[in-house]
């Protein structure tokens, strides 16, 4: 059975700069998301949006200070959390939602999936959740082929983990000792289904990795520093050539599966509990203030900074033109 990752983390082991970066990244992710929902409500963005509010700690902790531009990530379809943590410019992500040529797809539109920023190791995503499990062993194999120490981090939900491809992926990664870090964002639900209704596990999803001889663990995905540490160890293991790690990060979504989902299949109290007691941003801010690393004013000024960054990004994305319809005939072939 998968062990629960625990570590006695002292804030003092981190510089103020780094701690602030974690906070700032999480806050930016959430504000990005809230503003996107606002744009949807204003009728400026349509299609499906799967809000990532509630699991910012998972993305910020795993990516910030661990990954370089040349490391690859395959984000999942829940929020734009990982893209933002990896540094994709906000205006470009908004542009993909608004369909303007500011978007990474230069006007094709992308919703959550299909934004890409290869220079930052963001190689896009499939509309079929879980397909990234297969693709990620390819990017990781390339590191082996070219002899670099680039790692690949692949994010996927508890639901996506039930796709058949997981088996092919874990087998390849374990067999060829590939530098892949699997991060299963377990928010307990796949649309309306609780993980217990769709998954046969010994105890945890991470147990599935054990049979492949792949190091694995369960971790509180809402603790940004814990996430940081567990992924750091995995990255180091990968760079030492010791192969993959499987991390099941537990979290919960604050909103429905998509905007518009009645979200009535979740116990109201359970949901409120996650919001009140396990909010990754609130809790981290409280900890920082308790240990006097930042003051309330510091946080306020960070938030103000983010607000204007976001406002600027939206302005840039919105003011860019829509593409010419001929855009759809560009770029099929290189």
């Amino acid at each position: 059975m998968a062990k629960t990752y625990e570590k006695d983390i002292k804030l003092n082991d981190y510089s103020k700069e780094v701690l602030t970066d974690f906070y700032k990244t999480m806050a930016k992710i959430r504000k990005f998301d809230e503003n996107l929902i606002r744009l949807m409500q204003e009728g400026k963005v349509s299609g499906f949006y799967h809000s990532g509010i509630g699991s910012e700690g998972l993305s910020a902790g795993s990516i910030r200070q661990n990954l370089r531009d040349e490391d690859y990530i395959f984000y999942n379809h829940r929020g734009c959390n990982q893209k933002i943590a990896k540094g994709v410019p906000l205006s470009k992500i908004y542009g993909d939602f608004l369909g303007t040529i500011e978007g990474t797809t230069r006007g094709l539109g992308a919703g959550i999936v299909h934004s890409a920023d290869p220079a930052r190791g963001v190689l896009g995503q499939a509309g079929t959740i879980g397909s990234q499990l297969g693709i990620s062993v390819g990017t990781a194999y390339t590191s082996k082929l070219t002899g670099t120490d680039q790692v690949t981090v692949v994010y996927f939900g508890d639901g996506a983990a039930s796709r058949e491809m997981l088996h092919g992926s874990l087998n390849w990664a374990g067999l060829y000792k590939l530098p892949v870090i699997y991060i299963c964002e377990n928010n307990e639900y796949a649309i309306s289904c609780h993980v217990s209704e769709t998954h046969a596990v010994k105890e945890n999803i991470a147990d599935w990795a054990e049979g492949y001889g792949i190091p694995n663990c369960v971790v509180d995905g809402n603790d940004v520093l814990l996430m940081h540490e567990v992924v750091k160890e995995a990255v180091e293991r990968a760079k030492r050539g010791e192969g993959p790690t499987f991390i099941e990060a537990q979290t919960f979504r604050h909103r429905g599966h998509f905007e518009g989902d009645p979200y009535d299949y979740v116990d109201v109290e359970v949901l409120q509990g996650w919001k009140d007691k396990k909010d990754p941003i609130k809790n981290f801010a409280a900890k920082l203030m308790l240990e006097k690393i930042v003051s309330e004013e510091d946080l306020e000024s960070i938030n103000a900074e983010i607000d204007s960054e976001i406002a600027e990004a939206i302005e840039k994305a919105e003011s860019a033109p829509l593409p010419d319809p001929k855009r759809i005939y560009e770029g099929l072939f290189a």
């Binding site: 499906f48 539109g109 996506a160 309306s192 005939y329």
Partner: protein, 326 residues
């Protein structure tokens, strides 16, 4: 007659057939308590219970493979759903080579009473992997019947036939049509496979259209009629079997053919239909058969670009005008 949406029509068909035959079993992602993301299976879980109506893991090949396994026992009549028809690519081998060929390749000893429901089509910013219309691929797959209704009436009658049929059926439902209303009698009826429906008669040009495009064609027909051009709109309703008889009869009369579908043009169902028409009625043609499909590029996610994928009324009118010039 009462008017109901295609969603309700489909729901009624499922309900009636599941009541009628207790070996029916319905499953897929979120089809149970949640009632399906398109709300087509609402109420069935409550009525028929969790063994006959169940949510599955996100595992499309296993969903279809399990349906095949159930069917060949002779003791079950599975009605699986893939949440988006695009995902048929993930379960392609199970559909194309197992559902379609199992009976034949084992000498005809087993039956394959599977009705696989597949929501398709461009429907508002769902992007390249949630908007496709993959039905044409299966015309190349022996052993598969392909149903693609355009109205609530057809949807209900065809779905009932599909469920009772002892052979594999791929049932394609255009997502934009779920909310479309149409007349549906209260009394039971079935619609046979392989019988095209002439949605509008006319002597000048034959338009063969499927799913949502039937409606676009009918819109265009009205505009054309005002100009004095009477098109005949044929909805094959099933692409396999394909009712060439009705099509050829119309072509004999009009000599001009336009095929309209949302599938990419190249390799779409229009290719096979055009090939058959010229094979069997070349000398009836006064003009080349025209095909209107979506462009041969992946579907952009932007809702601003989507209109350039779906064949439009204007395109149809123009194509007919061009045909009339011959």
């Amino acid at each position: 007659m009462r008017k109901i949406t295609m969603r309700t029509a489909l729901m009624e068909a499922l309900n009636e057939e599941m009541e009628r035959d207790e070996t029916t079993v319905l499953f897929g992602e979120d089809v149970g308590k949640f009632g399906g993301i398109n709300a087509v299976t609402k109420g069935l879980y409550e009525k028929f219970g969790g063994t006959r109506v169940f949510d599955t893991p996100i595992a499309e090949p296993t969903i279809v493979a399990a349906a095949v396994g159930m069917a060949i026992t002779g003791n079950a009549r599975p009605i699986p759903e893939l949440q988006f028809g695009d995902f048929v690519g993930i379960a392609f081998d199970e559909v194309f080579n197992k559902m379609g060929k199992w009976r034949f390749m084992h000498g005809g000893q087993m039956e394959m009473p599977v009705t696989l429901r597949l929501p398709i089509g461009i429907a508002g910013g769902a992007g390249p992997e949630h908007s496709q219309s993959p039905q044409a691929l299966f015309m190349h797959g022996p052993g598969l019947q392909i149903v693609i209704p355009s109205t609530p009436y057809d949807a209900k009658g065809l779905l009932k036939t599909a469920i009772r049929d002892n052979n594999a059926v791929l049932f394609f439902e255009h997502k934009v049509l779920y909310d479309m209303k149409g007349e549906v009698p209260e009394d039971e009826y079935l619609i046979p496979f392989g019988k095209a429906d002439i949605k509008k008669e006319g002597d000048d040009v034959t338009i063969i259209a499927t799913a949502l495009q039937v409606h676009t064609a009918l819109d265009a027909a009205e505009e054309l009629s005002a100009k004095g051009v009477e098109v005949e709109v044929i909805d094959p309703r099933t692409l396999a079997p394909l009712d060439m008889e009705t099509i050829l009869q119309s072509v004999k009369k009009t000599g001009r053919v336009l095929i309209v579908h949302e599938e990419p043009k190249t390799g779409g169902s229009g290719a096979e239909i055009a090939a058959q028409i010229q094979e069997q009625a070349l000398f009836d043609l006064s003009a080349p058969i025209k095909r209107l499909g979506s462009p041969d590029v992946p579907i952009a996610q932007s809702i601003y670009l989507e209109p350039f994928y779906t064949p439009s009324k204007e395109q149809i009118v123009q194509a007919v005008d061009e045909l009339m010039e011959y």
